[in-house]
């Protein structure tokens, strides 16, 4: 699996296709997160943006090989493993992006609630921010995995479904991403840190289920 991950990551990095989603995310964070803003607000904003970006990165990884090269890898490692490696590589890159964004937000934000009266400790805030980012990355990975090959082959449908599902995952009450982000933003008003542990656990389960479905050999034509 290590070799497969290395191969998929090298493909993504060298192809420079990662530039578009990463630059878009950088712009999104750059516009929304300013120096000296309340830390929990900014963490919530940065986490929310990760969801569609992860879906995009995952789909880049899944579709970055020409069919012949994919068949060669599938024969060597088995189709499910090869597909899982692509999903994991995209998710891993998005995870790194999330960690970097969280670190930047922690560095430049004001460690206080929205009204500026209550101090917010950086360590619990950072932990909550990382967990929220993880929720969004995992849900984005699930959306990315479900809205592309091998479940959706047509590019247009795939794009429409990804945009729609990402939006839905962010705004539907009760979705782990929505719960985690809302927890950060509402916590910011009172200066309390809610650790989104339960949403994280649900997001892990959802992402694992999506990956298991997308890697079913019956769907994979290599």
């Amino acid at each position: 699996m290590n070799a497969l991950l290395r191969y998929q990551t090298a493909l993504l990095v060298r192809s420079q296709r990662w530039l578009a989603p990463v630059l878009l995310y950088a712009a999104f964070v750059g516009v929304g997160v300013q120096w000296g803003q309340p830390v929990l607000d900014s963490l919530g904003y940065a986490a929310a943006g990760l969801l569609p970006v992860t879906a995009w990165l995952v789909q880049l990884c899944v579709n970055q090989e020409p069919p012949a090269a994919r068949a060669v890898i599938a024969a060597a490692a088995g189709s499910p493993r090869a597909h899982l490696a692509a999903l994991l590589a995209g998710t891993g890159c998005a995870g790194l992006l999330g960690v970097a964004a969280t670190a930047v937000v922690l560095l430049i934000s004001r460690p206080a609630g929205t009204d500026g009266a209550v101090r917010v400790a950086l360590l619990p805030a950072g932990t909550a921010g990382l967990l929220a980012a993880a929720c969004c990355v995992l849900l984005g990975a699930a959306v990315g995995a479900l809205c592309t090959r091998p479940l959706l082959h047509r590019r247009g449908w795939s794009l429409a479904a990804t945009v729609f599902a990402s939006l839905l995952a962010l705004v539907t009450g009760g979705s782990p991403a929505n719960t985690a982000v809302t927890g950060l933003v509402t916590g910011s008003r009172t200066g309390t840190v809610h650790l989104p542990v339960l949403p994280f656990a649900v997001a892990v389960v959802l992402a694992a289920a999506a990956a298991a479905l997308a890697c079913r050999p019956a769907f994979l034509r290599g």
Binding site: S15, P66, A68, V72, A74, A76, R221
Partner: protein, 293 residues
Amino acid sequence: MGRRYGLGGPWVLRGVDIDLPAHTLIRIEGANGTGKSTLLRLLAGIDSPTQGRITGQRPRTAYVPERFSAALPFTAAGYLVHLGRIHGLRTPEAADRAQSWLARFGAADHARTPLPELSKGTSQKVAVAQAFLAEPELLILDEAWTGLDTAARDELDRAVAERVAAGATVVFVDHDPRRLAESVDTVFRIERNGLRTASGARTAQTGPRVRIEAEGPPGAALPAGLPGAPEHTPTADGGVRFTVAATHSDALLCALLTARPPWHIRQLAAAPGPVQDPAADGPAHRTPTPEAP
């Protein structure tokens, strides 16, 4: 097993039952669009059957697609090292083998060329080299010879013979009916979505042949399962004269020299003329003919 695409699509293959024993070279025939490639993809584990299943432990598998013009952001050698690692090799070993296989197919000069800049033929050489890197137990060749130059085609024939001699199963599709004709063990033909055996034994010997005179250790029998199933006749002075298709000569020499105890090679020459009766070719056959020195 059977395979169809889509929920209610027509069956591409149905009721296919195929066994892949070790030490076997299998050819799949069939008209265009009959499902040869689908069958190969099922055997390689790239695709999975809609109906039925593939049993047995998954062997170390390598697959060579017909047209491999991979626009991947790697150099030829870099790509092969990645593939070698995926096959389970360590990086230095993968790099070594990548170099030697590229050299074998005459593409050593292109090791540092990015894949998108390679010619169609050289890309195909990379695809072929990829398959042999990890000494696969199951090798699937989907018209792998297409696009290769003559030297590389011959080299691929020899490499395939070596793999079979080493115990692998090789399944191939090729448009040239003479491809490896002298060494194919089983020919299957796809007809009306099913598979039937087209012929069991080796077909007529057509290509060039090589004569090898060797001397075994005193009292030793012939090593079992010699590559290319050579004809062998005892010589007057206690040696054995083997006649084998040129494709298999390297593999046969290797088998003789590495047998335990090893054989001694006395003489090596191109065999004169074609052989008389193809039916007389078999490992158990022995013709006592008087030998001239």
